[in-house]
């Protein structure tokens, strides 16, 4: 018997497969002997090193098992096409530095119609594109005056020949005269004595010299002011000021100082960790009661102050006043308002269900009653909003059977006599509207997860688009929008919170001409909600941003009740170009969703962490949770719902002395804060 060739063996294998598993869904066509098959693919060059901007053509040759050259198609592609490209003719272009891989493959025999997954031959072609050489390196942060006896952490600015600022280049530091100034490998500049020297910073072949003059240290004394006479509470911010003077009593304003703090916690607090913090501007805040010391260090001199800190002691209990249970489907957002008839109403949406919105009479929160139900063609009514005058309501649609989602407008001007659909709007909103907002007769509707459309709703029976706002950043995405005083604040995940003038920003903006004012940084990329608020106690404009994240959710694990992550970010934002994140509120092992602020109290739907009520009065710094600024928390449990005993609070709204919350698992709740019962919490606070 002759030895069979590989092709024959392949056919035999297929035949056996058919015999052993006749039900397998393999092609039913007759086998054809397609002749020699590709056995080898030779690409020249086999690996590449290209400079950014270079181009090169790959030559490919296909051979059969006998080494004969074959006329076969070769498919080229790049596994990192934004860094290195290759077209069907094998022309390679280098875009970005790095180690990359191109693929060349020979498709399976076009006459072989059996199912299979891999090409006949496939080859990886390594491509190295080195970083462009460094063009310049400079010291980025030398102050105007340098004083002997002080230290400065130097930072370099490295730029390559493409103009890119680089952070991946090793930098070297040196000083011509270490007796005047020395610099270590980390760039810490130690100013030793008065005199002149030259600093050199180098990266690759580039270097720069900077002549510096070190002045004699003029400091005679440092004082620290700002310590309060009376005890402060945890969470209260104390602003310390360091004054540096020379022997003549003159201030040395640019003399570098550093702040630090330590403290002795109150009796009974064990293993407290850090009990306070002070920032580089001297703003101190305590997390734990006790005796705290703040130090200002001027290298040769220092000063300190001691502060007594007591517990903030603001805790309240939460009392359930009433409920509007929704037990057979999941609840989404809520809105509570005073109707035109003077009674109070709430609307709640539903999620992953069948398009319901529920209307409740909440005039007496202890006797909440369902008064109407509106059902639209949708699976999710994610958001519900009511106009300022209480006359119309907008509900969003996702999962419509005709895939024309958009929004639905309801007449709620006479709730007692029924709620009617008065308009549907889906033009260019067909992919689903996730969130909406109503302000000054305009509806702001999220569209495509990318932007928001602005609809004129002066006649809510006939809304029409007048404007649209969309970022132009790569991969931009949006989740929510909130409008206050003529400025729209959208939550844009990686792009942070974006402020847009729609009539109140002073930049000529209007609903038909939205003008971007600025945005906050948001390194986590989790920005999901935003609430603009001017502090009643400080007058500062705060932007309160909320995360949404589920980093514990994996595709591999069995699904368990949702566990969210993320926290509240508090920005001071009086300058659109300069949002400063000054404080956070973070509950460990839970995550935020929607929020509301009223009377310097922050209400947060914290998903599996329940409702959280937080004191944000006064100046804010650090972690408000650890400072005892949490007033109350409440986790709604209901054993009879679609998700029994699984609190997952979606949205809060304070209203006329009560707090209404929508719980994804159990519906609408009305609660109120009451004086806390004495409890042993294990230690002070």
């Amino acid at each position: 018997m002759k030895h069979s060739n590989p092709r024959t063996r392949l056919l035999i294998a297929f035949a056996l497969t058919f015999a052993l598993a006749p039900g397998l869904a393999l092609a039913q066509e007759e086998e054809a002997d397609a002749g020699p098959q590709p056995a080898e693919l030779i690409v020249t060059p086999a690996e590449l090193e290209l400079e950014v901007g270079d181009s090169l053509t790959l030559e490919a040759e296909v051979r059969d098992s006998d080494g004969n050259v074959m006329d076969r198609t070769v498919v080229f592609y790049s596994r990192r096409r934004r860094s290195v490209g290759v077209n069907p003719a094998g022309i390679v272009e280098a875009y970005r530095p790095g180690e990359h891989v191109l693929i060349a493959m020979v498709p399976k025999d076009p006459e072989d119609l059996h199912r299979r997954a891999e090409p006949a031959v496939m080859l990886e072609i390594p491509v190295t594109i080195p970083n462009p050489p460094v063009a310049t390196v400079e010291v980025a942060n030398l102050p105007g005056h340098l004083y002997a006896g002080t230290e400065i952490g130097l930072r370099p600015t490295v730029t390559d020949i493409s103009g890119a600022v680089r952070h991946d280049v090793e930098v070297g530091w040196s000083s011509a005269d270490p007796s005047v100034a020395s610099v270590d490998a980390l760039g810490t500049l130690t100013l030793v004595s008065a005199g002149r020297t030259t600093l050199t910073v180098s990266a690759e072949a580039a270097a720069s010299d900077t002549a510096i003059e070190v002045l004699a240290n003029p400091v005679a004394s440092i004082t620290l002011s700002g310590a309060p006479d009376e005890p402060v509470r945890t969470g209260d911010v104390v602003f310390f000021e360091a004054k540096v003077t020379d022997a003549s009593g003159n201030a040395v304003p640019d003399y570098p100082v550093q702040f630090a703090t330590f403290g002795i916690p109150a009796d009974g607090i064990v293993a407290p960790g850090a009990i306070g913090q002070v920032d580089d501007a001297g703003a101190f805040v305590a997390e734990r009661p006790g005796t705290h010391t703040v130090i200002v260090d001027g290298f040769n001199n220092s000063a300190s102050a001691t502060i007594a800190v007591v517990s903030r002691n603001i805790r309240k209990d939460v009392e359930v006043v009433g409920r509007g249970p929704v037990r057979d489907r999941r609840t989404s957002d809520l809105w509570v308002w005073e109707g035109t008839d003077g009674r109070d109403y709430a609307v709640t949406g539903t999620h992953s269900a069948d398009g319901h919105a529920y209307f409740w009479d909440v005039t007496d929160p202890s006797a909440i009653s369902l008064i109407d139900t509106v059902r639209v063609d949708a699976r999710t009514v994610n958001d519900v909003k009511v106009s300022e005058d209480g006359k119309f309501c907008v509900i969003s649609r996702e999962g419509a059977s005709n895939r024309k989602n958009g929004l639905v407008i309801l007449d709620v001007s006479d709730v007692a006599n029924g709620i009617e659909v008065i308009a549907r709007y889906d033009d260019q909103l067909s992919g689903g509207v996730h969130n909406v907002f109503i302000a000054e007769d305009h509806i702001y509707a999220l569209s495509a997860g990318r932007r928001y459309d602005i609809l004129n709703a002066e006649d809510p029976t006939n809304p029409y688009r007048v404007g649209r706002f969309e970022l132009d950043t790569p991969g931009h995405s949006i989740h929510d929008v909130w409008v206050a005083d003529g400025i729209a604040y959208s939550s844009n995940w990686n792009d942070g919170i974006v402020a847009v003038d729609v009539g109140g920003g002073g930049m000529g903006g209007a609903p038909n001409n939205p003008v971007m004012l600025g945005s906050t940084p948001y390194p986590s990329g989790w920005n999901h909600a935003a609430y603009p608020y001017r502090s009643q106690s400080t007058g500062k404009f705060l932007m309160i941003g909320g995360d949404e994240a589920f980093p514990y959710q994996t595709m591999r694990a069995e699904r368990t009740p949702g566990r969210a992550a993320g926290w509240i970010h508090i920005f001071e934002w009086d300058d659109w170009e300069n949002a400063r994140e000054v404080a956070r509120y973070q509950v460990p092992e839970a995550g935020t969703h929607n929020l509301w602020v009223e009377d310097d109290i922050l209400y947060i739907a914290y998903y599996n962490g329940g409702l959280r009520v937080v004191d944000i009065s006064g100046e804010l710094r650090g972690d408000l949770y650890r400072q005892g600024r949490e007033i109350a928390m409440f986790r709604p449990f209901d054993p009879e719902t679609v998700k029994p005993n699984t609190p997952f609070v979606w949205g809060p709204q304070p209203f006329k002395g009560h707090i209404f919350i929508a719980d994804n698992s159990s519906g609408l709740w009305a609660v109120k804060l009451v004086d806390a019962e004495p409890r042993n919490l294990g230690e002070p606070q």
Partner: protein, 374 residues
């Protein structure tokens, strides 16, 4: 006996009935087991179903997606040519959707790749193993979209192909070197050169005598003409070299001759039927169409071009359809409306009779035939 012959013979028994057919037990129960995967788009689940001698049953329900507070929308699904993996498009992301890879049988998640806006229908080239996914982008702002090319071993998007407005449907030819898809809002069928990652040919299906297509700037097309055909699906080519296109907008089915690259026949499905997804038997004898608005499944004899039967479905919004590898059964998904469950129905292709059904998650849509076995 070809599927067409079986069909015609059996059609005599059912009397060419166009009236709704009641669900019935399979008069000739299957001797094999048939496996399909079905997406429930509004429940973020995929269901592995088996129809066989023991009936129609669910073997597994796989929760998909990673954001529990969003409906991420599993839409399209397909199987690797060797049957070892299934691929699933997830429509919604931040903002881009993704394609995920799972092992068949164990349904273990293997990997994913972020693609474009609303990734939908897909197919895998049996010649290269590359996966082609249309980015449907149904978000209403009619802008040209793309087809993503994914290397399935690494789950890396290696190319995007500019196609048109709201591309949907994606089926390869048997050789794996051509992909057929439609641009819903351009009234176009496109033929993709799957080896060069570019559009090889475009065929305008509409009636606008001034409409051109090849080489047009698609950025302007949405404003130039209103789509009429609104094609939503293109089948794999038949052995005779025909591709069938669902005209969801004008309620027709188009037969396109690939050699002449022209519409060779147009089948009027009747007003209000709105064909959505299509599948043909392996011999090209019978075409099965879901009628999205009509709440029916149309069975067409492709030799005569005649509609043989259009039984009414048990639930609203028919969506996907596949035909078993032996051409015996057409398996159809029904989305339902609102809170209704999705339903999967099995039809005997020869008789156009519904022989079984099963409920799954909400908005059952994408479906793929995995295998048949004894």
């Amino acid at each position: 006996m070809s599927s067409r012959s079986r069909f015609l013979a059996s059609a005599l028994l059912v009397g060419l009935c166009l009236a709704p057919l009641a669900a019935a037990e399979d008069p000739e129960p299957p001797r094999r087991n048939y496996f399909v995967y079905v997406c429930a788009e509004s429940d973020d689940t995929v269901h592995l179903l088996r129809y066989g001698p023991s009936g129609f049953e669910e073997l597994d329900e796989i929760t998909v997606g990673s954001f529990p507070t969003e409906t991420e929308g599993p839409h399209g699904i397909n199987i690797s040519p060797d049957g070892r993996h299934w691929f699933l498009s997830i429509a919604h992301g931040m903002p881009f959707g993704a394609v995920h890879k799972y092992a068949t049988g164990t349904n273990e998640w293997i990997g994913d790749a972020t693609l474009g806006m609303f990734p939908a229908t897909m197919d895998v080239s049996p010649s290269t193993g590359l996966l082609y996914v249309v980015n449907f982008n149904l978000h209403g702002d009619h802008v040209p979209s793309t087809i993503s090319v994914v290397e399935t071993g690494t789950m890396i998007e290696v190319a995007t192909i500019d196609t048109g407005v709201m591309p949907h449907g994606a089926r390869m030819n048997a050789k794996g070197d051509r992909l057929y898809s439609v641009n819903m809002m351009d009234d176009e069928l496109v033929e993709v050169d799957a080896m060069r990652f570019e559009i090889a040919r475009r065929l305008y299906l509409g009636t606008d005598p001034h409409a051109g297509h090849a080489g047009m700037d698609h950025g302007d097309m949405g404003g130039m003409r209103a789509p009429v055909v609104k094609p939503t699906w293109a089948t794999k080519p038949s052995p005779a070299g025909k591709v069938y296109v669902a005209g969801n907008g004008d309620s027709a089915i188009y037969e396109v001759d690939l050699e002449g690259w022209e519409v060779s026949r147009r089948f009027d499905a009747g007003p209000g039927e709105n064909p959505y997804n299509l599948e043909i038997t392996s011999d090209g004898g019978v075409l099965v169409a879901t009628y999205k608005s009509g709440k029916k499944v149309g069975f067409w004899d492709l030799a005569s071009g005649e509609l043989i039967a259009a039984p009414e479905t048990t639930r609203r919004v028919p969506h996907g359809v596949v035909v078993s590898d032996d051409d015996r059964y057409a398996i159809v998904t029904l989305e339902g409306v609102g809170g209704e469950p999705g339903t999967v129905e099995v039809y005997d292709v020869a008789t156009a009779q519904r022989v079984s059904e099963i409920d799954v998650g909400k908005q059952a849509g994408g479906i793929i035939y995995w295998k048949g076995e004894p």
